[in-house]
């Protein structure tokens, strides 16, 4: 801090704002002018603070709710533009704020360590983390109706690339289909696999269903990573994946775990803790709003994220999450499944102290926000006889 005036305001204005002000000051400026500027900034800062009794939560809800009604109309513009189809727009915001455990399109940005981040063997690395199923190694399938058996020809080259042989494949298959079927190498060539049902009653349709099932058997790679896409982002190469598995990805030696992210907030909570989840809610919501070209003040999103995470576990903005945590019976009952809440409250004999907004609206009393908050205090003289 070059200027003296900054010291006076150090405790009054947040550090970040002071830094920004200092950066944007011209090089030669008189001390009195700096003082004047800071005075005005302090006034402005004070005006932008929330006042006591302001219903910040409701304003946050309105501020996110209103732009998201406009989003519904815009979502189809973005369908299928990028190579990887990612849920954005309103569906994504609902997903994040609802605190869903299973999100519709999981996605990771995998950052790499030094030699690889410059593009070394990028394609090979990307391929190696991708989860592969038997489908990708099948050359041809034919079903013999008479013997009700299935013959599969596998791609020898592809198998060699991942270092597996037919025997290993059979072992994997036998593990996942313990009963009912037998897997044996065919006689005609090295890459032929014969599958037979051990129970004779299996009809044609079941064999066909088995064919579909077999194609999805996991063979190699990191589970959950459905697709990989090496991308150059700025100066370095990263791998964008569809599907997410932070736990296993972090174990890989070539991955930079400091920067690697996922859009699965639950996974972040499990691996990195609740504070990381809080930040990631803010990031995800902000990303969508930015994408849609809308403007929502960051503080609204932060407030919602705070509420979702203060109880040290993730809570969704719904009746299973933050509404469940409300202290007032009437407030909970006014939001979905009222009977459940009232019966449970009567069993345990709960008391509603009418301290929040919605209960007071229900009984037509003054709501304790804004003009309803201040009370008049009168000092009464005590009578001597009472003493």
């Amino acid at each position: 801090m070059e200027h003296k005036a900054f010291k006076d305001y150090q405790d009054l204005i947040p550090e970040k704002i002071l830094e920004d002000v200092e950066k944007s000051l011209p090089e030669k400026i008189s001390e009195s002018k700096v003082k004047k500027i800071l005075e005005l900034i302090y006034e402005e800062y004070k005006n932008s603070l929330a006042e006591p009794g302001e219903s910040v939560g409701l304003v946050a809800a309105e501020s996110i709710g209103e732009p998201s009604t406009q989003m519904t109309l815009n979502t189809f513009h973005f369908a299928g533009v990028s190579e990887m189809n990612v849920t954005t727009g309103l569906p994504r915001i609902i997903e994040v704020l609802d605190g869903r455990a299973e999100i519709s399109t999981k996605m990771m940005h995998v950052y790499l360590k030094k030699p690889y981040s410059e593009g070394k063997e990028i394609k090979k690395i990307a391929e190696s983390i991708k989860e592969t199923t038997l489908k990708e190694y099948i050359q041809e399938v034919s079903i013999d109706i008479a013997d009700s058996q299935m013959t599969m020809a596998l791609d020898q080259d592809k198998l060699e690339r991942i270092g597996l042989k037919l025997g290993a494949i059979i072992k994997i298959l036998e593990k996942s289909f313990a009963k009912g079927y037998s897997f044996k190498p065919g006689k005609e060539a090295d890459n032929i696999l014969v599958i037979k049902s051990t129970s004779k009653e299996d009809d044609l349709n079941n064999i066909y269903k088995l064919k579909e099932k077999l194609q999805d058997v996991y063979i190699n790679g990191i589970k959950g990573i459905k697709q990989v896409l090496p991308v150059k982002k700025g100066d370095e190469y990263i791998i964008v994946t569809s599907g997410s598995n932070i736990k296993d990805i972090f174990k890989l030696e070539f991955v930079n775990p400091d920067k690697t992210t996922t859009n699965d907030i639950y996974e972040i909570e499990r691996m990195l803790g609740i504070e990381a989840a809080r930040q990631s809610i803010i990031n995800e919501v902000d990303k969508v709003i930015e994408e849609q070209g809308l403007n929502v003040d960051m503080r609204h999103i932060m407030l919602i994220s705070d509420i979702m995470t203060t109880s040290s576990t993730m809570l969704g903005v719904n009746r299973y999450g933050i509404v469940k945590e409300k202290p007032s019976v009437l407030a909970r009952a006014s939001f979905e499944t009222p009977i459940k809440h009232i019966i449970n409250a009567s069993i345990s004999g709960e008391t509603d102290y009418l301290r929040s907004v919605i209960e007071n609206v229900m009984i037509n009393q003054v709501v304790p926000v804004g003009t309803g908050l201040p009370r008049l205090m009168v000092k009464t003289k005590k009578k001597k006889s009472e003493d």
Partner: protein, 603 residues
């Protein structure tokens, strides 16, 4: 090997998918297989899907062989002479039905001269991609697709001439347009569907210009002179129906002027329009509250004591009256019987509806708007030769919606009106815009359809030339007369003591949940309390047990029904709905105890 599925069920496999598909198609065309069977060969997955199930949309197309249409001149001549029919064409394999899956493999030509060796089918007419109502939109090929569907949706609500025997019919909610006209700019579908027998609009002169802001936000300004001459005028018919019901015990309703001793008798004045038989006389002007059909019903509950009761046999009044806000002239009285043999009285009311501010109008291009102002004729802008438009349409409605056909229809309407002929505006097959322009020039107008116009108020010429033409406009059945509603005080519901809902019951306008939120967001707590005061009550509450007590007005004292009158009672103001809620809780065994505390208590 290609897997074969019939109705999505695996049945086996064939050697050659291509050949298999072609065989099925040829068999179908030869009539050996039902015409509704469709087949798709999906090369990427090497699968053949045969579809035989119901519920698929299928579309007729002309079969093309070796780049030539199988619908030859010879066949179409026979069709024209009525020697052949549609079903013959299907049997011959000239026309076949494709479902969405088989369409995947088809290459369909729009016109016969576009056919190449690769084409498999020819569309019967390019118009067949549109439905009936959408085909009624002229120059549709110049419109954005959304506007076509919006235009056709709105046309269905147009006031028109729905049946020639409407005088003899009693239908619900009927609107009849007084001077229906054929559109000057018409399409093939107007001829095919005999539109001239049930038209539903009028050709108006329309200028595209703003008018002092009275036609902003999609409103239109309408010429009062045109309205007086009958533009958009319609009549609204509504039936009032009543039935003489039979009840157990030989009792029945009676249609008559009720006696004065009937339970629930109105005033003499309310029955003044009834004739001796208890039904209104035709052509009487009735208003809300007036009785249309006088009726009395037997008492609701009978018990054995009634037989000895001299004052018994008190019948209930159950007349049909006009509800709040309704009015009209009695048009027709019809006496008949229904299926159960009960006497049925139907009275049809008639009301003339002259266009007024707020009535909805539409062109055929989804350009809907309400009347923003009815302007006296002398205040409507006029052109060089004295023409005053019927409707002033705001130009801001055009750029974003891209309804170019709206503009072209105006041009076509102008040419058609001046030349005295119909203009063909069939989508994909319409008259050329350039021809219309040159025709207009020959008629002595500017070829771009604009004219010099003058301000009616100053008499000065406008700086811009105004685009003016003629087009088909329709009045929609949504009229303010059916919808206008307001309330300051009025009826409340018995159960909750909150205002009733809906226009028919003179209900209140709800301040909803989101509106409530705006009050909270502003911190206007006291205002919010005042707004939700409609059902406030003051109830005495027992300070000991916390339940609602009873006020005894004789002793001017409140007491608690459980704790007696030796306890402190406090009057508390709360909403009646909440009182009801607590009563409901008690009714299923939950004890809602109210613990009271003084507002001025510091603790």
């Amino acid at each position: 090997m290609t897997d074969v599925f019939v109705d999505n069920k695996y049945v086996g496999s064939v050697k050659d998918g291509h050949k298999f598909r072609d065989d099925i198609i040829n068999e179908r065309r030869a009539g050996k297989m039902p015409s509704e069977v469709n087949v798709l060969f999906h090369e990427a997955t090497d699968q053949v899907f045969v579809e035989t199930s119901k519920g698929r949309t299928i579309r007729p197309l002309i079969v093309v062989k070796d780049g030539k249409s199988t619908l030859t001149q010879e066949i179409s001549d026979k069709l024209n002479k009525n020697e052949m029919q549609w079903s013959d064409l299907i049997k011959m394999g000239v026309i076949e039905y494709l479902d969405p899956s088989e369409e995947e493999d088809a290459l369909v030509a729009f016109y016969e001269n576009e056919l190449t060796a690769e084409h498999t089918h020819l569309s019967i007419t390019p118009l067949d991609i549109l439905g009936l109502c959408t085909s009624l939109i002229p120059f549709g090929q110049f419109n954005q697709g959304v506007r076509l569907s919006q235009g056709s949706k709105n046309q269905k609500q147009a006031v028109g001439f729905y049946a020639a025997n409407f005088f003899q019919r009693i239908d619900m909610d009927v609107n009849i347009l007084h001077y229906p006209q054929n559109p000057v700019v018409k399409t093939l579908m107007h001829d095919v569907s005999d539109y001239y027998q049930h038209p539903s609009g009028q050709n108006v002169v329309i200028a595209i210009m703003p008018y002092d802001g009275y036609n902003m936000e999609d409103a239109v300004v309408i010429n009062k002179g045109s309205v007086d001459r009958g533009l958009g005028r319609s009549t609204y018919f509504r039936p009032v129906v009543s039935e003489e019901l039979r009840y157990p015990g030989g009792l029945m309703d009676e249609i008559s002027i009720p006696d004065k001793d009937v339970k629930g008798f109105r005033t003499e004045k309310d029955y003044r329009f009834l004739e001796e038989d208890g039904i209104v006389s035709a052509e009487s002007k009735v208003q809300e509250g007036d009785v249309i059909i006088g009726k009395t019903s037997p008492p609701r509950f009978l018990n054995s004591m009634d037989e000895y009761n001299l004052a018994g046999n008190v019948r209930r009044e159950s007349s049909m009256t006009l509800e709040h806000g309704e009015r009209g002239v009695v048009d027709l009285v019809l006496l008949s019987e229904n299926e159960e043999g009960n006497r049925l009285i139907q009275v049809r009311l008639r009301e003339q509806r002259i266009p007024e501010i707020g009535d909805k109008f539409i062109s055929r291009h989804g350009q809907k708007g309400v009347i923003g102002m009815v302007v006296p004729e002398q205040n409507i802008p006029f052109s060089e030769n004295g023409m005053r438009p019927d409707i002033l349409f705001n130009p801001h409605g055009l750029p974003k919606r891209m309804t170019v056909a709206h503009l072209i229809e105006m041009l076509g309407g102008k040419v058609g009106a001046l030349e005295g002929r119909y203009i063909d505006g069939t989508t994909f097959d319409s008259e050329n815009e350039k021809d219309l322009r040159s025709a207009l020039e020959k008629l002595g107008f500017k070829e771009d359809g604009t004219e010099i116009m003058y301000s009616p108020i100053t008499g000065k010429q406008y700086q811009a030339r105004i685009y003016i033409g003629s087009m088909y406009y329709q009045r929609l059945k949504h009229m303010v007369a059916n919808k206008m509603h307001s309330r300051a005080r009025g009826p409340i519901q018995l159960l909750t003591r909150q205002p009733t809902e809906g226009r028919a019951k003179e209900g209140g306008l709800r301040l909803g949940e989101m509106e409530k939120d705006t009050f909270i967001a502003h911190g206007a707590s006291l205002l919010l309390k005042e707004r939700f005061d409609s059902d406030k009550t003051i109830v005495p509450i027992c300070e000991k047990c916390g339940l609602i007590g009873i006020y005894d007005s004789r002793k001017n004292k409140s007491y608690c029904p459980t704790c007696g009158d030796a306890v402190e009672m406090s009057n508390i103001e709360l909403s009646y709905a909440f009182k009801l809620f607590m009563d409901e809780l008690r009714s299923f065994g939950i004890y809602p105890k109210m613990m009271l505390k003084s507002e001025y208590d510091p603790a």
